[in-house]
């Protein structure tokens, strides 16, 4: 596997660590942290700061009886079941978003497949499968798009993205990612606004993308 060269920006990482990043983007960040030791260390450093802030906050007294309640709960509760773990190319956060099941792909035409993992008003999350050498229709978006490569690679005007790399695209970017020739590219993408496709036929496809 090649070295990861495209990472999470400070801004997004701070938003993630402090719990201010919408769900779809948090899944992409958590999946990248699963693959990238450098960004995991950055996130942990930011958490140390969170701990230091917690340590110095002016305490607010717990009500009497809180301790007894806690001790009673220790007896009554059993440990939570282990969370869904990673499987194959999918890190744990992706397997959790998949509900522990393998992807159920939907054909989008041109051999491209996708599965929508979540969609709410703050953003949507999906897995994309792009056959080797195939391009995703040229598109731009109204907001932020984060794309993490899980298998293979893609290239666009911003460079080449291999396994573990994240592309952060703002609304200024018109890009047309093309999968590498070495094999199908599978990636995880979060967007906070509907994709807008340029070419005519892809626009007809857009309802299929459902985002």
């Amino acid at each position: 596997m090649t070295e990861i060269t495209h990472h999470i920006s400070d801004h997004l990482l701070d938003a993630y660590v402090t719990g201010n990043l919408p769900h779809a983007f948090s899944v992409v960040v958590a999946a990248h942290l699963s693959l990238c030791d450098a960004c995991r260390a950055r996130a942990e450093a930011a958490e140390i700061l969170g701990g230091a802030l917690l340590d110095r906050v002016a305490p607010s007294a717990m009500s009497s009886g809180a301790k007894e309640r806690l001790l009673a709960a220790l007896e009554d509760t059993s440990p939570p079941s282990a969370p869904i773990a990673r499987s194959g190319i999918f890190p744990a956060p992706v397997m959790q978003a998949l509900g522990g099941q393998p992807p159920k792909w939907r054909m989008l035409g041109g051999g491209i497949r996708q599965q929508i993992l979540s969609a709410d008003r703050e953003g949507s999350l999906r897995l994309l499968y792009i056959p080797a050498g195939r391009a995703v229709p040229e598109h731009s978006h109204g907001g932020l798009e984060l794309t993490l490569v899980l298998q293979g690679s893609f290239s666009d005007s911003e460079g080449r993205f291999g396994v573990g790399d994240v592309e952060t695209a703002g609304d200024e970017i018109d890009h047309q990612p093309m999968a590498g020739m070495e094999g199908p590219c599978i990636c995880l993408a979060a967007t906070d606004a509907p994709l807008r496709f340029r070419a005519m036929i892809p626009r007809l496809l857009q309802p299929l993308f459902r985002i």
Binding site: A30, M62, L70
Partner: protein, 202 residues
């Protein structure tokens, strides 16, 4: 409970004997919970973090009663997940902050937040006392740097970590004079990870 009871086995090789350079007291309590299911240490963690967690949650918009309920949830998670605490990579306060943050997200979104793959440590590896020590030293420098911030600067951080800070304001955090310490912590954690990988690939 005597303080010495909670000290990790790694202290016996002398790295952590100096009080100034041993892990924080809460980290020692959490290690006692992890290694010996020590209830006295657990209640000490509760006495220390309960009121602080409650204050943090009230800052985040919860009312008194719900804040206490969430503190209970967080402390139960601390008890049940203590085995996952790694003193090489976090202090107790950071680890507990993360649990509280996740619980807050879970409640707000009605779905658990994604969590990165757990790091697999090599079997039977000894605690790396110098790493634990270095992390503790950097963390106390971070605490001193926090004290030196202006009230406005500290407020931005507290808003981000305890409340909801709009995206547009997150970048204000990057400009604060804590960057150097944070990157030293990051480098230490990265180095540790590389060492562990080397250990696993003989």
């Amino acid at each position: 409970m005597h303080h010495g009871d909670a000290r990790p086995a790694s202290e016996e090789n002398g790295f952590l004997s100096n009080d100034k350079t041993s892990p924080t007291q809460p980290t020692l309590w959490l290690l006692a919970v992890r290694d010996r299911r020590d209830r006295t240490a657990f209640l000490q963690l509760f006495d220390h973090f309960g009121p602080r967690l409650k204050a943090m949650l009230i800052r985040g918009g919860l009312r008194d009663g719900s804040a206490e309920d969430v503190v209970q949830d967080v402390m139960l998670t601390v008890w049940h997940k203590a085995a996952q605490f790694d003193a090489h990579r976090a202090e107790a306060s950071a680890w507990i902050y993360r649990i509280a943050r996740n619980r807050r997200i879970d409640l707000a979104r009605r779905k658990p937040p994604p969590e990165p793959d757990p790091l697999a440590e090599p079997e039977g590896s000894e605690p790396d006392a110098p790493q634990i020590l270095a992390l503790g030293q950097e963390a106390s420098m971070l605490r001193r740097a926090l004290e030196a911030l202006s009230p406005d600067q500290a407020k931005v951080l507290e808003q981000a970590y305890f409340e909801d800070l709009p995206h547009s304001r997150i970048s204000e955090m990057t400009g604060l004079p804590l960057g150097t310490i944070k990157s030293r912590i990051r480098l230490g954690l990265e180095r540790l990870r590389r060492d562990l990988k080397d250990l696993r690939q003989p």
